[in-house]
Structure formats: C-alpha cells, structure tokens
C-alpha cells in the first residue's frame, strides 16, 4: 500500500481504524522504515508525556455570597477558639504566676481586635461581591432597555417614512386627477 496519511497513522496509534485497515497499516508500518520511525517516535512521545504529573488537590467547595460569609464566620470562630486555647495554655505553662485580671484584659483586647479585623474584611468582601453582582444585573437590564428602545425608535422611524411616502403619493395623485379633470 501507499504511505498512509498522518491522520490515518494517528488513528492507527489509537487503534481506531476498521480492523482490515488497522491490519493493513500495521503490515505497512512493519515493512516501511519511514512510517515505522514516525509511529515509534509518536509512541515514545506519548510515553514521555506521562512524565508530567500534577499533584491532585482536594476539590474546593465553591461558595459565594451568604454561604461563603457563614463559612468564613465559622472559620473565624474556630480561629478565635484556637487562639484562646493557645493563649490559655501558654499562660498556664508559664513559670510565672499569672495575673488573672491582666490576662482577661489582654485576651479580651486581642479577641476584640481579631474579631473586628476579620469581620471587617469578610463584610467588605461580601459587600463588594454583592454590589458587583447587583451592578452587573442593573447594567444588563439597562442594556436590554436600550436595545428595546433602539428597536422601537427604528421601527417608528420606518413607519413615519412610510406614512410620509403615502401622503406625498396621494397628494400627487389628487393633483394629477384634478389637472386631468374636464
């Protein structure tokens, strides 16, 4: 047989040809140095491509809007609980005698600061995404109204032209009839 096309060789490589054609090309590839070299090279490439593996990552649960805010608030609560535990453990394990009043004050200040900062960030993010979404919807609505307006204006313009044409033609016809009357 003649040299198979490259498309046929690609199909041959995948075993996607009909059985007789697969067999025919296989015989050709065995006996033809040129086609044999191409197929071997391609097989090698496919094998080499397997060398680039990517580390799989646990699927990320995509959350948006209110659900994301709730999830983030839970994370903040967990972080604060961890902070309190860590701080308490550090104080307990400290060789110095703890001053409980000072400890309470410091802890309260720290928690307030952390909470304020995290909440501000989360609320700002939520507000920003909400505003962006609302703005996009408003823009889409305004765009649709504009398109409808433009369509109506164009249709009215065409109607006006038609009416003017009819009026002019009618006037001309009346004039012609008047001039031809005895």
């Amino acid at each position: 047989m003649n040299h198979p096309s490259h498309e046929q060789l690609v199909d041959f490589l995948d075993g996607e040809l009909t059985e007789p054609l697969q067999f025919e090309i296989e015989q050709h590839v065995k006996s033809c140095d040129e086609c044999g070299a191409i197929v071997n090279s391609w097989r090698g490439v496919r094998s080499q491509l397997a060398a680039w593996k990517l580390a799989e990552r646990a699927p990320v649960r995509a959350t948006t809007g209110r659900a994301a805010l709730q999830q983030n608030l839970l994370r903040i609560a967990a972080a604060i609980a961890l902070l309190v535990t860590g701080y308490a453990l550090a104080r307990i394990s400290s060789p110095a005698q703890p001053d409980m009043n000072q400890f309470r004050t410091e802890l309260a200040q720290q928690i307030r600061g952390e909470l304020r900062s995290e909440l501000q960030t989360e609320l700002a993010t939520f507000a920003e995404s909400y505003v962006t979404e609302q703005r996009a919807q408003q823009q889409a609505f305004v765009q649709t109204v504009h398109e409808l307006d433009a369509g109506w204006l164009a249709a009215l313009g065409r109607l006006r032209n038609d009416i003017e044409t009819v009026a002019v033609r009618t006037q001309e016809e009346f004039a012609r009839l008047a001039s031809s009357a005895p």
């Binding site: 498309e7 075993g15 090279s41 496919r46 080499q48 491509l49 990320v60 649960r61």
Partner: protein, 196 residues
C-alpha cells in the same frame, strides 16, 4: 446547569464546580505551564461560567462550553504574556526547567522532575492550538470528535494537527528517548497516557 442558568442557584453551581474543578485546573496549568497562574485562570473560568450562564444554550454539551471558556482564557493569558514580553512558563516552578536545563541526576525523583520539566518546556514550544489538542487528548482523554467540538474545527483537522504536534514533540523530547539513555518503556499508560 439549568438551575444555575434560570435561578442563579449557588448550590447547583457549587456542584458544577466540584465536578469540573480538577479537569479545568489541570487544563489551565498545562496550558500555562504555571501552577499558580493555572489555578487563577481556573477560578476565573468558573467566574466566567457563572457570569455568562445566560449565554449557555441548554441542550448543548456543558463540557464543550466549559472547556472552551477555559481554553479562551488560557489563550488570552498567553497573548497578554507575549505582549508583555514574558513567558508564562515559570522555569523556577516546582516542575520548572527549560530544555537547556536538562541534566540527568542519579536520584530517581530528581530525574522524574527533570523529565517533567522537559515535557513542560517542550509543550510550551508548541502553538496554543497544538498544545490544547495534546493536553485535551493525552492528559484529559477527550475523543478527537469532542476536541473538534471544543475547538470548532473539523475532526480531520484535529487529527492532522495532533500528528503535527506529536512530530514536533518527538524532536523536542529527543533527549528523553531511550537511545539517549532514558528508557521510558516501563512507564504506565504508554498507548494513551491519561495521567493527571
């Protein structure tokens, strides 16, 4: 997708993301050659899916649509990088390395890294379209007919370009070939490496 499109259902969208997050992430990383950028693009792709949900024609294959969105983002990113005179492929990345940096080492893991870097750099040498065909076929296991739908070109053209891509890669990956002392014959998935 219908719930996402009609009602903007966030839970339904979350399910879509869970189903497609990994393949799209892999595609974007392999198209850009950068894990960091690829992940950003994958997130952007899903944001675009949600933003453009009204443009999706129900009844058509969602997979085709989402692959195309992700690929278009990768193409845009490539063009932006070219305009800035940058290369998307990060030679210093975890799987980084340029063709010239291929020096076999005794440690097997180091050799694997070098092989991965060479493959990554070789793919970077291909045009966007050839690279996308190789990635969709060899790494994501799409059929040629499906790739043709994604790229909106005839199936025969996809096969012709695949042949071209394999030939170019054959030259670029020659340092890895067995005759150069790197026997890859024991690697899995030889006929159709659906590696991830």
């Amino acid at each position: 997708m219908r719930d996402v499109q009609v009602r903007g259902d966030h839970d339904a969208f979350t399910q879509l993301v869970a189903r497609w997050e990994r393949p799209i992430r892999r595609l974007c990383i392999r198209m850009t050659g950068s894990e960091h950028r690829g992940e950003e693009l994958a997130q952007e792709a899903f944001a675009r899916v949600f933003a453009n949900r009204h443009q999706y024609a129900l009844g058509r294959k969602f997979s085709t649509w989402v692959w195309r969105i992700a690929l278009n983002l990768c193409y845009e990113e490539g063009r932006r990088a070219t305009r800035r005179g940058e290369s998307l492929f990060d030679p210093g990345g975890a799987a980084g390395g340029e063709l010239a940096a291929f020096f076999p080492r005794p440690e097997e893991h180091a050799i694997d890294r070098e092989r991965a870097a060479l493959v990554r750099a070789a793919l970077n040498q291909l045009s966007d379209v050839l690279r996308s065909i190789v990635v969709l076929r060899e790494y994501e296991g799409l059929k040629y007919r499906e790739i043709a739908e994604v790229l909106e070109i005839p199936e025969g053209t996809v096969k012709w370009r695949m042949a071209e891509a394999l030939s170019q890669l054959g030259k670029l990956l020659a340092p890895l070939a067995p005759e150069h002392g790197h026997d890859m014959s024991n690697r899995d998935n030889v006929t159709n490496p659906r590696c991830v």
